[in-house]
């Protein structure tokens, strides 16, 4: 969980308004695999990915310009790393993006990975995910090793830090991820009304 500096919170005197989403996961925390339906209605059990060398969970969108700027890179990385034993899974938590739209979007952009529909943004809340795209990388023991952006340049023309690739190479090489948490601008996940 990303905790606020205590001094800042108490100085503000309004800590309740500044706390991160309840249930946000932290680096080093273990995930209990869950099940969700994919865009075709088929139930996908993340537990079935046991044995993979890493699992990449990606909160993505069909309408967000930032998420869409990464479609090609997500498809390319998933293809490249599938050969190395890594599973990629997309999760769509946006209330206004239907399963039909998600299926069409995935087909249009050649996603070789399933995109799961997170009805009621249950998993987004559980992870504390706020933006699209937002990435979580798990090692074979389902321990969170990386959380954040795909890379540091939305346009893709001036990437200086391949954060997701670096994280995967580290996990595959049995090394510590050099930068385990990163941030980038992104679209808000459109949640159901509270």
């Amino acid at each position: 969980m990303r905790l606020a500096p205590l001094a800042l919170m108490s100085a503000a005197g309004l800590a309740a308004l500044t706390l991160p989403a309840a249930g946000a996961v932290a680096i080093g925390e273990k995930l209990q695999p869950f099940k969700l339906n994919d865009a075709t209605g088929k139930t996908v059990d993340l537990g079935s990915l046991q044995g993979k060398k890493a699992v990449v969970l990606m909160f993505i969108a069909t309408q967000c310009p930032v998420s869409n700027a990464y479609n090609e890179r997500m498809a390319g990385l998933s293809r490249e790393y599938a050969a190395k034993g890594v599973a990629f899974v997309g999760i769509n938590s946006n209330r206004q993006e239907s399963v039909e739209e998600i299926a069409g979007h995935a087909a249009q952009h050649g996603f070789g990975f399933p995109v799961l529909k997170d009805v009621g943004n249950v998993q987004a809340d559980r992870f504390g995910a706020q933006v699209t795209p937002e990435i979580y990388v798990y090692d074979p023991g389902w321990v969170l090793r990386y959380h954040g952006r795909i890379d540091d340049d939305r346009s893709g023309t001036n990437v200086k830090s391949q954060d997701l690739r670096n994280a995967l190479d580290s996990v595959l090489g049995g090394k510590a991820v050099p930068v385990a948490e990163t941030k980038a601008f992104g679209c808000t996940i459109k949640r159901v009304a509270q």
């Binding site: 503000a12 005197g13 706020q130 808000t188």
Partner: protein, 164 residues
Amino acid sequence: MSAAALLLAGVLAGQLDAAGVGRAVAAHRGRPVVLTLWATWCDPCVKEFPSLAALARQRKDVAFISVSIDEPEDRGTLEAFVAERRPPFPVYVRAAGPDQAFIDGVDREWSGVVPVTLVYDREGRRAALLQGEHGRADVEKALAEAEKARPRAKAETAAHGARF
């Protein structure tokens, strides 16, 4: 004047890096401040823009600051948007630089999601961080909370002073 400054001389207030955002907020010490970061490509941002403008027209006691994170290639879209809306607050644009340095420089608790609205009390302390879609009512509530905290802080200071 640089080409970038000339470009901004029309409807936009100028370019700000994270430190500049901090200075812009600090310049209004003595008044509550509502700082919004947004982009023209962000639908919820565009949707909430009129309600923030309406609130700013009503709450003259509050300083409103708007900072667009639009990329340079979207500058025309941004200028047209601001020129058409004529908001009652300055609209700055983020200066070029690494995204994460800007995000953390504005507020370490900000995830990078837009829109984001930060409310500061009269002493310049950040009182609320509203990430994602929030309506006018949430901003008004945060402002009220920031104001409510103020007399209590003053009373505590007074009590402390009386005791010693």
